[in-house]
Symmetry: C2
Subunit: 312 residues, 2 copies
């Protein structure tokens, strides 16, 4: 079993590769819920939905979120009232949130609801929220204001400096038993190329998860989301710098050194391999940019092979 | 000022006529909230929306509810998950519920939110929810099960016998100050041809409302929603019979005898006028079926004239 700690877009692309490379039932993603938000009364789980829609081939690839062939009637009406429409919810996508809200209100947990949603989309792999309890990523801005992750990421287009990040509720959150079992029983564990602070950070912050990952470090691999000092998507590079970490594969290695024995870095960062290895993590250099067909599957094969063969 | 106690479709049609007959700013509707429901996490106010959409000329006249030119992407997605889709929510209509839910969550009351919504639709008359507090019409079925009004009305298509009706929360509900003021200060008050039990019933059940209406009985008029022993729309006739009342203009007169001095009945019920008057209410016979253009405006003129000229 191949377990992936996952955020949104980068993780979803990696998972597409994993499903090409291995039988789908052998992959399980443990997914971030720190991005989740209740908006307009609806329970929204952006990372779970991005993974689901991407794996189902239904994501809008141009936008990078939401469903393809989407319509926007509800948002247009909401906007006509002067309502908040900075968080785009397509009409089809709304159906997912209506369903999730109903089921959670009826007492189902997020793990159950996610299984129901992925089944409808025909996914054969498992997507497991890291916790069924609320964990909310909160971002402190330079002016001292603390806002939700989605306000930072979407409303402000992450175009502001961050001075602190915390995961509200995480101390009281229990890990999903299924997710914890998957981490413990995985043959290989891969930390996807997601934002280390706000995508992987909340996953690891759920009590018990970091320990369960660390204890099996020798069979764990991370893929750097930083390539050539830049995040391929999103604010990971700036966030690392703003929080006093190095926005490079070396900074990523320092963050994950207790959790993985191998860090996969892109060819453009080959010159940093020895510096990565001085952190105590093996550097494995390969092509990591998943825009081209076939790269993600090859990356999954490389990651799994590295986890099995890690000599650290 | 012309104040109308209002439910859904019948009241909305009457209000269209009132707005043709009089300057729009002179009409205020005090609207039922017993049909309101929280569904999929959204705060839905069917009677307020039916009045708003109808007065804005945006109602889907064929369906009798919701917006014209509507799309159903959200419901289709919800249905694909096996979710509850018996309560139809079009994509455009959803925008209204998203907005209302946001504003109520932010601390606005239903009176304020309704004013914002009606302003967007360009209405010049006022729609006032009878209360800003939750009042929920609950229906007991023959088998003893108690269900919400919308489950009875929509999910079961009101095709079941009712043994009792109650308005949950009404004892703790306060009347909207604006609604109570409107009732007290109205020159004429008209009880619209809405279901007396489940549309007008909850309005009158809010503490203080029945008394405020009764004390000005001489300037109040009701329009019978029962014509020829049948409700023009909905289950009012069957409900009256099931609850032991007479499904006729005479039954309506008995229900409203303490509240109005005149009951307007349709021409087809002219033979019951004397029986109506034996209940202590003046019977005024005219054409009340508002399907034809002009009838509603004429009905409004008749009602207002009767309220001014009531000789009882």
């Amino acid at each position: 079993m191949h377990v992936v700690l996952a955020g949104g877009v980068g993780a979803a692309r990696y998972l597409v590769g994993a499903l090409e490379a291995f039988p789908p039932r052998e992959t399980t993603a443990v997914v971030n819920v720190g991005d989740d938000i209740v908006m307009h009364g609806l329970c929204i789980s952006p990372d779970l939905d991005t993974c689901t829609y991407t794996l189902a081939g239904a994501i809008d690839a141009d936008r990078g979120w939401g469903l393809v062939d989407e319509s926007w009637q509800a948002m247009e009406t909401l906007g006509s009232y002067g309502g908040d429409r900075w968080f785009g919810l397509g009409d089809r996508d709304l159906g997912t949130h209506l369903y999730r809200t109903d089921r959670l209100t009826a007492g189902a947990n997020l793990t159950e609801v996610t299984a129901e949603i992925t089944r409808r989309w025909g996914l054969d792999c498992r997507l497991l929220p890291v916790s069924d309890d609320p964990v909310r990523t909160m971002v402190t801005l330079h002016d001292g204001d603390e806002i939700s992750f989605q306000e930072y990421f979407v409303r402000l287009a992450h175009d502001v400096a961050v001075t602190a990040v915390r995961f509200a509720g995480v101390d009281d959150a229990r890990p999903s038993p299924a997710a914890l079992d998957a981490i413990r029983e995985a043959d290989t564990l891969v930390i996807a190329p997601s934002n280390p602070i706000v995508s992987i950070g909340p996953v690891l912050a759920v009590p018990g998860v970091r320990e369960a990952v660390a204890v099996r470090r020798e069979r764990n691999v991370a893929i750097s989301p930083i390539v050539g000092g830049r995040a391929l998507k999103g604010p990971a590079d700036r966030m690392l710098a703003e929080l006093g970490e190095e926005p490079s594969v070396v900074g990523v290695a320092r963050r994950y050194r207790d959790l993985v024995s191998t860090l996969i870095i892109d060819d453009v960062d080959a010159h940093l391999a020895s510096e990565v290895e001085r952190t105590g993590v093996r550097a494995l250099v390969t092509s990591t940019i998943m825009a081209q067909p076939g790269v993600a599957a090859e990356l999954a094969r490389t990651a799994v092979a590295a986890a099995f063969g890690s000599p650290t």
